[in-house]
């Protein structure tokens, strides 16, 4: 229990640090650390799946994205600092509002009604029919597959917007690369290991914590690392491959989901007897697509203004 209070305190303290500091660098690094603390919190909430996702995304993507943006927005840091605490009236009102929201939320939490259905029990009863042994994978790809489908579609739309912005401009993406020989040597075995861990997470998701989303995050991190270190990515500049890769997850999901529909069943009900195989195929495609989608969002960032940051060629 003391562990939980300490962890919760550290989480709130870090969050407050992210928001209250005047230094943008400090804020960003604290935000990265907040992600790691969140992973530990998910462990204490007994949600190892979420801990895995948060660790992969927090350590692999969020930090990179924000540091990347920070390097880009760097020059007017001084101006940004000055903008704060200008209007005491607004600040006071905001504090009151936040206090009120906290109070209301806590009252609502303490008074929350007992739910009428016992979801864990229902999930347990249906687990056998889903074809996989891990309840979260079952919820994601069997019981609530519709939600997952639409969620992938939402991410696809976000990527389309990002890429549209990217391709509507003449400028090239930032090409700054780290050419440290130590890094290059390490990548030789680090990258295959990342690929292996992604596949492992995907496979293990059928019977315990892991699955497409966590694997995709690791995969995306791998691609980002390749990009940053100047390791060529196969098929990177081929736009047709890019389009196919981005939609293959969603496409296979829809295709396999419609098989039962065509034969008179329900949409997104996996074919009888092929549940596990279908889920694995869809998960594999989803992993690949989601990894590519997340990586594309990283790639969609425009080039920094000053020419000294860019470095042509390479990849």
């Amino acid at each position: 229990m003391i562990l939980d209070w300490l962890l919760a305190g550290a989480l709130i303290g870090t969050a407050a640090g992210v928001l209250l500091t005047r230094d943008l660098y400090r804020s960003v690094v604290l935000f990265i650390i907040f992600g790691l603390l969140m992973a530990l919190v998910w462990v204490r909430v007994e949600a190892p799946d979420l801990a895995l996702a948060e660790a992969a995304i927090g350590a692999g993507l969020t930090g990179v994205l924000f540091l990347d943006a920070l390097g880009h927005l760097n020059p007017d840091k001084a101006a940004a600092v000055r903008q704060k605490y200008r209007q005491p009236l607004l600040s006071g009102l905001a504090f009151l509002l936040a206090l009120g929201v906290t109070g209301l939320l806590w009252m609502a939490l303490v008074d929350s009604p007992q739910p009428g259905v016992h979801l864990p029990e229902i999930v347990d009863q249906q687990l056998l029919a889903s074809g996989v042994e891990h309840p979260i994978t079952a919820v994601l790809l069997s019981f609530r597959a519709y939600d997952t489908l639409l969620e992938v579609a939402v991410i696809l739309v976000a990527v389309v917007v990002g890429l549209a912005l990217r391709f509507s401009q003449e400028d090239q993406p930032a090409e700054t690369q780290v050419l440290s020989p130590l890094l290059q040597k390490m990548l030789v075995w680090l990258l295959p290991l990342m690929l292996m861990v992604a596949i492992y997470l995907l496979w293990i998701g059928s019977y315990r914590s892991g699955g497409a989303f966590q694997a995709a995050a690791v995969l995306a991190a791998m691609a980002v690392l390749m990009r940053m270190s100047g390791t060529p990515i196969p098929g990177h500049s081929n736009l047709y491959l890019l389009r196919i890769g981005l939609v293959v997850g969603l496409g296979l999901f829809l295709l396999l989901g419609s098989v039962d529909l065509v034969s008179g069943g329900n949409f997104l009900a996996w074919p009888e007897g092929w549940e596990k195989a279908s889920i694995l195929v869809v998960e594999g495609a989803l992993t690949f697509s989601l990894g590519m989608l997340l990586f594309s969002l990283f790639e969609a960032s425009p080039a920094p203004k000053q020419a000294s940051m860019t470095r042509g060629g390479g990849a």
Binding site: A10, V43, P48, S180, I204, R208
Partner: protein, 97 residues
């Protein structure tokens, strides 16, 4: 045995909380990135201990992922967020040429 694990977990969490102080102090982004790196290592140790304590083998996977991706933030820092606005690796390369 169990009490030793719990005490160690608390010690590690304490180390984690103290480490935030270095992030706050800075003074340079490099110092902050080092502290973040330390967070990763401590988090890995914490997760391994918790995996044993809570008997959740999945936590070892979380530790594996964190250890695997620990280099990402540092590489991003060197590649993109250099305060000087110039990649050190580039300079080093020119020296070598």
């Amino acid at each position: 045995m169990t009490w030793a694990l719990w005490v160690s977990t608390l010690l590690l969490l304490l180390a984690l909380v103290l480490g935030v102080w270095r992030v706050w102090l800075g003074p340079t982004l490099a110092d902050r990135m080092l502290a973040a790196q330390l967070f990763g290592t401590t988090g890995v140790a914490l997760l391994l201990l918790l995996a044993e304590l809570l008997e959740q083998p999945a936590l070892r996977d979380v530790a594996l992922v964190i250890a695997l991706l620990a280099v990402m933030a540092t590489v991003a820092f060197v590649a993109r967020a250099q305060p000087a606005g110039q990649s050190i690796s580039k300079k080093e390369n020119e020296d070598a040429d």
